[in-house]
C-alpha cells in the first residue's frame, strides 16, 4: 500500500492537556470525570470560553451506551460536531487521531479530544467474563494476552521473573504520579506470592480496573505559538488493524502484528529511522506485563527475543536508556479503556514540556515521545508520536 505517510507531521499541535484522578471513583459520574479532565485541559490551553472556542469534539469510550451525547451534555458543547470513536483499547488514540486529521484537513481550528470510561459502575472487580456467542470461550483479556507466553518463554527462555521486573518498575513509577490509582511499591516476593489470574499472569501482571477521563486540546501548528510558548507537535499518529490471532493461521505467538505494523506506519510519518535513539520516553500498553515486554520488541526498542536482557539492565526504568511508562502505566492508572490513550498523551506532553515533576525524564524534551495502545484479541493498535519541534 502506498500512502503519503509523512503528510501529517507537524501539521497539528497539542496546546493543552488534562486528566482526572484515576481510581475507583464511586462518587463520580462519567460527567464528573469528563468535566474534570476537559476543564483542566481548557485551563492548560488558556481557553476561557469553551462554548465559543471548541469547534468540534472527538470522544472515545468503550463502555458507555449513551454515545457522544454523554460528553456533549456534560460539557454543554452543543451546536457543533461531537463524534464518538470506538476501537477497543486503542479507542483513546483513535479519537486523538480523528481530531488531528480534522484539524490537518483545515476543517477546524480548535478541537477537544476526550477519552473516558467508567467500568467500576458495573459491580465487578475485574473485566466482565462475557459470552455473547455460542462458541465464546472465557472472554477474559488475561486469557487472550497470555497466549503469547508459552510460546515466547519456550523460544527465548524468558520467564515470570522478567515480567516481575516490569510490574515492579511500573508500581514504582506510579508512586510518583499524582493522578495514579495504585501508589504502592511491590517486591519480587509480593509478585511471586500473588494469585494466578491466567498463567503466567498473576495479580501484579494485570492492569488495575479503574474509572478515568483524559483530555487534550489541539489546534493548527501554525497558530500554536499564539496559544503557548512550548506547544507540542504531532509527529505521527497511526492506527492499524490486524487479524484475530486466535484464528490467524500465520500467527507465531511471539509478537502482536498490529503493534509492529502501527510502529512501521508511525515511524514513517515521523521520519524515525532509529526508534531506540530518537524516542526519549514512551508510554506503551501494559494491560499485562507481557504486553509491555512484547511491545519493547514490536516497537523496535530492542531486538526480538532480547527484551529480558534490556529489562535486566534497567533500560526501561526511570533513569534508563528509554524510560517506559513513566507514570506507572495501565498497571497503576488502571485501564478505563477510552481514557487510556489520551492519558498517555497527557503524560507525554508533560514529559516533553519538562512538567512531569519527580518522574521527569531528563532529555525527554529534546527527543520524541511515543504512546501506544493495543487491544481486542489483540486486533488493533494505535500509536501517537509527539515532539517539541
Amino acid at each position: 500500500m502506498s500512502t503519503n505517510n509523512q503528510g501529517i507531521r507537524d501539521k497539528v499541535a497539542v496546546v493543552g492537556v488534562g486528566c482526572c484522578a484515576f481510581g475507583e471513583n464511586w462518587n463520580q459520574s462519567p460527567s464528573d470525570m469528563i468535566v474534570d479532565a476537559a476543564y483542566e485541559a481548557y485551563e492548560d490551553a488558556g481557553i476561557e470560553n469553551p462554548q465559543q472556542e471548541i469547534e468540534a469534539v472527538f470522544t472515545g469510550s468503550l463502555y458507555t451506551t449513551k454515545g457522544p451525547f454523554e460528553c456533549s451534555d456534560a460539557l454543554k458543547l452543543f451546536h457543533r460536531p461531537v463524534t464518538m470513536v470506538s476501537n477497543y483499547c486503542a479507542t483513546g488514540t483513535d479519537a486523538f487521531r480523528c481530531g488531528v486529521l480534522s484539524v490537518a484537513a483545515g476543517l477546524y481550528e480548535t478541537v477537544l479530544v476526550l477519552g473516558y470510561d467508567k467500568p467500576k459502575d458495573r459491580g465487578v472487580s475485574g473485566p466482565s467474563v462475557m459470552m455473547d456467542g455460542v462458541r465464546d470461550l472465557p472472554k477474559t483479556p488475561a486469557g487472550w494476552f497470555s497466549l503469547c507466553a508459552a510460546t515466547y518463554f519456550e523460544k527465548y527462555g524468558a520467564g515470570r521473573e522478567d515480567l516481575a521486573r516490569i510490574a515492579i518498575k511500573n508500581h514504582h513509577n506510579g508512586t510518583l504520579a499524582p493522578k495514579s490509582f495504585l501508589k504502592r511499591e511491590i517486591t519480587l516476593e509480593d509478585y511471586m506470592k500473588a494469585r494466578i489470574i491466567s498463567w503466567p499472569f498473576g495479580l501484579y501482571d494485570c492492569a488495575a480496573q479503574t474509572d478515568g477521563a483524559a483530555a487534550a486540546v489541539i489546534t493548527r501548528a501554525d497558530r500554536a505559538r499564539s496559544v503557548r510558548d512550548d506547544p507540542v507537535l504531532v509527529k505521527a499518529v497511526s492506527i492499524q488493524s490486524g487479524p484475530n490471532p486466535q484464528k490467524d493461521p500465520g500467527n507465531d505467538f511471539l509478537s502482536w502484528k498490529p503493534s509492529a505494523w502501527a510502529a512501521e506506519e508511525a515511524y514513517g510519518q515521523a521520519g524515525i529511522k532509529d526508534p531506540a535513539a530518537q524516542i526519549g520516553v514512551a508510554q506503551v500498553h501494559d494491560c499485562f506485563s507481557l504486553t509491555e515486554l512484547l511491545s519493547y520488541e514490536d516497537l523496535g526498542f530492542c531486538e526480538k527475543g532480547s527484551a529480558k536482557e534490556h529489562i535486566a539492565d534497567g533500560a526501561f526504568e526511570l533513569g534508563g536508556r528509554l524510560p517506559v511508562n513513566t507514570d506507572g502505566g495501565l498497571k497503576t492508572f488502571g485501564h478505563p479503556t477510552g481514557a487510556t490513550g489520551v492519558r498517555m498523551i497527557y503524560e507525554n506532553v508533560l514529559q516533553l514540556q519538562g512538567r512531569a515533576g519527580e518522574r521527569q525524564v531528563s532529555g525527554a524534551p529534546e527527543r520524541m515521545a511515543l504512546s501506544h495502545n493495543i487491544g481486542g484479541h489483540p486486533t488493533a493498535c494505535g500509536i501517537a508520536i509527539l515532539g517539541r519541534d
Binding site: M131, D132, V134, R135, D136, L137, G143, L147, W199, K247
Partner: protein
C-alpha cells in the same frame, strides 16, 4: 434380520470415590462412581457415545436418531435433532426422543429394531444417556452414576440379531422425579424391590424365555438393570442365572446410569460375546422390557472404538466432594452480576453448523482449511469459494495455551488453547487434561461439551482433549 451393527459407549472419566460420601479420604482402588463434569450432560455424553459407535463409518448412512434419557435439559425441545446436528448427520434424518421412564433406553432400542424390521429405515442410531441427580447425602447418591451408550441398529451386516422381545407394564410410584425437582426420589427400598423391581423383572424375563423357547441357562451373557447391588443379586437368584453369565452391573465403578444402564450392560456383553452366543438384556421402569440377541458376526464398525471396557479404564479422581458439588451446581453460588448476556437464538441458529457440527471450510482456490466459516479467505482472499468440512473427527495440535483462573469453573484453572486443525486455528478449551500435561504440540481430539449457559439455556460447543498416548496414529 434386524440387529445391532455397531455400538459405542461413553463414561465420563471423572470418578467420585464413594469414601467421600462417608467423609473419608479416597483409597486407591476403592469404590467409586462416574460423574459427568460441569461441561457434560446427557446430550454431550450421547454425542460422545455416538462418535464412538460410528467410528470410521460414513455418517450419511444414518437414517434416524432415537435419544433416550430422563435428564434432557429442555422440557420442550428435542435432543435428538441437536445430537444429529452435532454428529453432522444428513438433513433428512428422522429424530425422536424417548423420555419419562427409566425404561426409555431399552424401549428406544426396541423401537429402532421395529423400524428397521418394517423397512421404514435402514440404519437407526439409538442413544441412551443419563445424568441423574441424587440429593447430596441421600441413599441414592452412592448408587447413581453417569453414562451413555449408542447402537447402530440395522438389517445390514449386524453383529448381533434380535431373537425375541417381551415387555410388561405396571403402575407403581417407586422411583420418580417431578416437574421442577432436580432430584430423583425413591419410596421405601423394600417396597420398591419386593413389589416393583423383582416381580416385574422376573415376569419380563420369564415371558421372553417362553416366547423364544429358551432357558436362562442358554444365555452366555445376562445383562440386567438393578437399582443397587443387593437387588441385582436377589433377581439373579430368583432367575437362577449362573453367576459366570452375569454381566457385571458396574456398581462401585460406574453406578446405576438410569435409562442408559441396561443398554450399557448389553454393550459390555456384546464386547465379551463369542459368535453364536445368546445374550439377554432387561431394563426396568414402569414395568420392564427384555430382549434376546444372538452374536453373529463382526458388524460394521471400521474405526477404533473405546467401548465400555475402554471407558471404564479411562479415569481420573475428583479432588474433593466439594469440587463435585460445585461441578453439579449443588452448592449455593453468588449471583452472576455480569448478568444474562441474552444470547441470541438467531445467532445460535445461524451458527449451528459451526458450533454444533464443528464445520469449518476449505478454500477451493488455495486449499486452506479455516474456522469459522468466512466470506473472504484468510489466506488467499478468494471470496465465497469454499466447501464446508467437518473438523470434529479430525485431530489437532496445541499451538499455545494459558491457564485461566478467572473464568468460572468448579475446578480451576480452565485450560484455554489456540489449536491447529490441519491449518485452521481455533480458540478452544482443553479438557480431561492436567495443567502439567499441557504443552505446545500436544495432539488432541475433539469432544462435544457444554460451554456456558448464556441466554439461560445450555450452550454446546467442541473442546480439545488429549489423545491417549496409545491411540496416537
Amino acid at each position: 434380520m434386524a440387529g445391532i451393527a455397531a455400538f459405542g459407549a461413553y463414561i465420563p472419566p471423572t470418578r467420585l470415590p464413594l469414601a467421600y460420601l462417608a467423609g473419608r479420604p479416597a483409597k486407591e482402588g476403592g469404590p467409586e462412581k462416574a460423574v459427568a463434569w460441569n461441561d457434560e450432560d446427557s446430550v454431550t455424553m450421547a454425542v460422545a457415545a455416538a462418535v464412538d459407535c460410528l467410528s470410521g463409518m460414513d455418517r450419511d448412512c444414518v437414517d434416524g436418531v432415537l435419544f433416550a434419557s430422563t435428564t434432557h435439559a429442555f422440557r420442550e425441545k428435542q435432543a435428538a435433532a441437536l445430537i444429529a446436528r452435532a454428529l453432522d448427520l444428513r438433513g433428512d434424518v428422522r429424530t425422536a426422543d424417548y423420555s419419562g421412564s427409566l425404561r426409555a433406553g431399552v424401549s428406544a432400542l426396541r423401537g429402532a429394531l421395529d423400524a428397521v424390521s418394517g423397512s421404514d429405515a435402514e440404519n437407526i442410531l439409538v442413544i441412551a444417556s443419563d445424568c441423574r441427580m441424587a440429593a447430596p447425602g441421600s441413599a441414592l447418591e452412592a448408587n447413581f452414576g453417569d453414562a451413555a451408550v449408542a447402537f447402530l441398529v440395522s438389517s445390514e451386516n449386524p453383529l448381533a440379531t434380535l431373537v425375541g422381545s417381551h415387555a410388561v407394564a405396571e403402575e407403581i410410584v417407586d422411583v420418580w422425579r417431578s416437574e421442577g425437582d432436580p432430584f430423583v426420589h425413591s419410596w421405601e427400598e423394600r417396597f420398591v424391590v419386593q413389589e416393583g423391581y423383582l416381580p416385574q423383572m422376573a415376569a419380563v424375563v420369564e415371558g421372553l424365555l417362553d416366547k423364544t423357547s429358551t432357558k436362562i441357562a442358554d444365555y452366555a451373557r445376562v445383562a440386567l438393570y438393578a437399582p443397587d447391588p443387593r437387588s441385582h443379586a436377589a433377581l439373579t437368584r430368583k432367575l437362577e442365572a449362573a453367576p459366570r453369565t452375569l454381566e457385571d452391573p458396574l456398581f462401585r465403578k460406574v453406578g446405576n446410569s438410569g435409562a442408559a444402564f441396561a443398554p450399557l450392560l448389553l454393550a459390555a456383553a456384546l464386547e465379551a460375546a463369542a459368535e453364536g452366543d445368546l445374550l439377554l438384556v432387561a431394563g426396568y421402569g414402569d414395568g420392564a422390557e427384555a430382549m434376546a440377541f444372538q452374536k453373529c458376526g463382526e458388524g460394521r464398525a471400521s474405526g477404533p472404538s473405546r467401548g465400555v471396557a475402554g471407558h471404564v479404564a479411562r479415569r481420573r479422581t475428583v479432588a474433593s466432594y466439594d469440587r463435585y458439588l460445585k461441578a453439579r451446581s449443588l452448592t449455593p453460588a453468588e449471583w452472576n452480576r455480569g448478568g444474562d448476556p441474552g444470547l441470541s437464538a438467531t445467532v445460535h441458529f445461524r451458527e449451528r453448523d459451526e458450533d454444533l457440527g464443528f464445520k469449518g471450510q476449505r478454500c477451493r482456490s488455495c486449499d486452506a482449511i479455516q474456522f469459522p466459516c468466512q466470506r473472504v479467505c484468510e489466506s488467499c482472499f478468494a471470496k465465497d469459494d469454499f466447501d464446508r468440512v467437518r473438523l470434529s473427527d479430525r485431530r489437532g495440535q496445541v499451538v499455545t495455551y494459558t491457564f485461566d483462573y478467572f473464568f468460572p469453573n468448579p475446578d480451576p484453572p480452565t485450560i484455554v488453547t489456540v489449536t491447529d486443525i490441519e491449518g485452521a486455528r481455533v480458540h478452544l478449551q482443553l479438557v480431561d487434561c492436567r495443567p502439567e500435561d499441557t504443552r505446545i504440540g500436544l495432539p488432541v481430539e475433539f469432544v462435544f461439551r457444554r460451554i456456558h449457559e448464556g441466554g439461560g439455556r445450555p450452550n454446546y460447543y467442541w473442546k480439545g482433549r488429549p489423545i491417549d498416548p496409545g491411540e496416537t496414529a
